[in-house]
Subunit: 164 residues, 2 copies
DNA sequence: AAAATAATGGATATTTTTGTCCGCTATTTG
DNA sequence: CAAATAGCGGACAAAAATATCCATTATTTT
């Protein structure tokens, strides 16, 4: 079976280069939020440049994503010297990953059909519906129960990394 | 919280339109395989046109995907009159979804990091690694244990649908 | 008030993915 | 062997996602 997969590797001339669970924008958004949260725990604001360096993301693109998170009231942004991005106490204690994902990728991840049919639909399920449902629910539950704060605490302890 | 999400809906001016677990190519590939398998169970070959209609996909694009599956030896293709696509007995009984996904999307879905770091890595895990791992493993197990045949049998029974 | 700083918003560019077109090859039928 | 059929392969086109540029706005410091 591993041989089979290796064989496919060579033959795969067509199709996507990368396929990930979240969009790049969302990945940057989550990583940035965790970094901002970590610094906010120490009452520090961070500039766009700092964020982009910390999470190893393109600066200008990251700017767009932070704007989106700011508009969604998940993070604060302040202009001018001493300005930058931060997360206030309330958000620090309450923001779940699901909010960031919703703010950037929308709720397709929850409502979408595994096989791309127009919305997941119990009444006319696609062939993969049953098998997919529980996985999607696990993912949803995970995103809805995981706080950004808990992730930033692990980061601070040096247990996890935002870039390599 | 529901109000929060609805609020985001409006504010969401930036970012991806659709974010799905598999690429479109892979979705078409899986749906096509299930359809071809269903017909092959009745010893019928199907043309590209039939497949595209059955799964409601763009014909020319579907052609590319079927070529890929054919090169990967998952389905057979025959030229000329009476030609078309089919799945032989062996494949019919042995093809798992994971093989189709590997053939089209590659194995990024198994190896990739949830937050987009260069490959998932136990030694230097991203902040979401632990939470993500079990979900990814569930997904992997599901794909590796689900046969195309079983899905096509449910389809034949009218329990599931390839288009709406 | 002027200068410096940092985010913002809009336009634009690049890359990737998705989708199309069309002449070619192989196969079957008559 | 000619005609019809059906997939193949390469080039091309459109759409979406990702990424960049730069002038502007808001804020702070001097
Ligand atoms: S209908 Fe496809 S996942 Fe529910
Ligand atoms: S390192 Fe990110 S998922 Fe394993």
């Amino acid at each position: 079976m591993d041989i089979f997969v290796r064989y496919l590797e060579k033959v795969r001339t067509f199709a996507p280069e990368k396929v990930e669970m979240f969009s790049k924008a969302c990945e940057y958004g989550i990583r940035a939020s965790i970094y901002i949260a970590e610094k906010s725990l120490l009452d520090k604001r961070v500039s766009l440049k700092e964020v982009a360096q910390a999470i190893n993301s393109p600066e200008a693109y990251t700017s767009k994503i932070l704007q989106q998170l700011s508009r969604s009231a998940i993070i604060n942004s302040d202009k001018g010297p001493t300005g930058g991005f931060s997360m206030d106490k309330y958000m620090l204690n309450n923001v779940k990953l699901s909010m960031i994902v919703s703010a950037i990728d929308g709720d397709e991840i929850y409502k979408g059909c595994a096989l791309g049919l127009e919305k997941c639909n119990e009444k006319m399920p696609c062939p993969l519906h049953d098998q997919f449902k529980s996985i999607r629910e696990d993912l949803k539950r995970m995103l809805e129960t995981t706080t950004v704060k808990s992730l930033s605490l692990n980061l601070e302890k040096g247990l996890t990394f935002l870039k390599r």
